[in-house]
Symmetry: C2
Subunit: 143 residues, 2 copies
């Protein structure tokens, strides 16, 4: 797959806003964030748009416009971020329906679905363990 950096950029973005707000600023602009992420401001705005729909960020428009967190960093887990920006499931079943006359073709779908459900649960459990507060702490420790 074309490697997926959306979760990285989303976590970067929200962490950046959180730190900026703790330093006393009200809002952060997509241009400031893009400079830190090293990308185009539109990429940041697109991503923040999805994060806003998920209730993780808010935007103020007009003059003195910009972005702020909708919840504290400690109240946002990486699972929240993942759910906000990753649309589909990790694994898919067959593109075309397998032969229903074949024993394997008939039973493989449900069998794999059960496995994929377990795997996605494990992935979500793991992502839920880390909050953006944890991420910020690690980031500052690395400095």
């Amino acid at each position: 797959m074309s490697a997926n950096s959306r979760l990285t950029i989303a976590a970067h973005t929200l962490t950046w806003i959180g730190l900026y707000q703790r330093r006393g600023h009200e809002v952060a602009t997509s241009e400031q964030i893009a400079a830190s992420v090293n990308t185009n401001p539109v990429v940041i705005r697109r991503l923040l748009g999805e994060l806003r729909k998920a209730g993780l960020a808010d935007a103020r428009r007009g003059a003195r416009a910009g972005w702020m967190l909708a919840r504290d960093l400690a109240a946002i887990t990486l699972l929240d971020v993942y759910r906000a920006i990753e649309p589909g499931p990790l694994f898919a079943l067959h593109p075309a329906t397998p032969d229903p006359e074949c024993v394997v073709g008939h039973g493989i779908g449900p069998a794999m679905t059960a496995v994929y459900d377990s795997v996605e649960s494990a992935l979500c459990r793991e992502l839920a363990k880390t909050t953006l507060e944890d991420v910020l702490r690690d980031v500052l420790k690395a400095g």
Copy 2:
């Protein structure tokens, strides 16, 4: 991402070969497997080529050619299959290096890498729990 059905098709393919061999046949052809999966034989051959490189399948060429398992179904986990066919990591870091002068830009990479390592470990642990023997049992139960 364009949804990834490679693991599904690979598990289907190996399970099909395993069942076919248990019914007394020596080898299975990509055409037979493709009929069950409902796709083109070349798709199966490509996938089996990667599975062969990983030591999970073997091919016989010439007349009476076809595919066989290199190990018993019970000795192949879904993690083995996953490792054989999925090249990259689940999540990627930034496409372009983030600003190293920024605290967040500087520390976010290592922080996210640690998280991604944990997540991939959890995913692998979960995939390792299921063997193709388990898959075949579920498949036959569903019938």
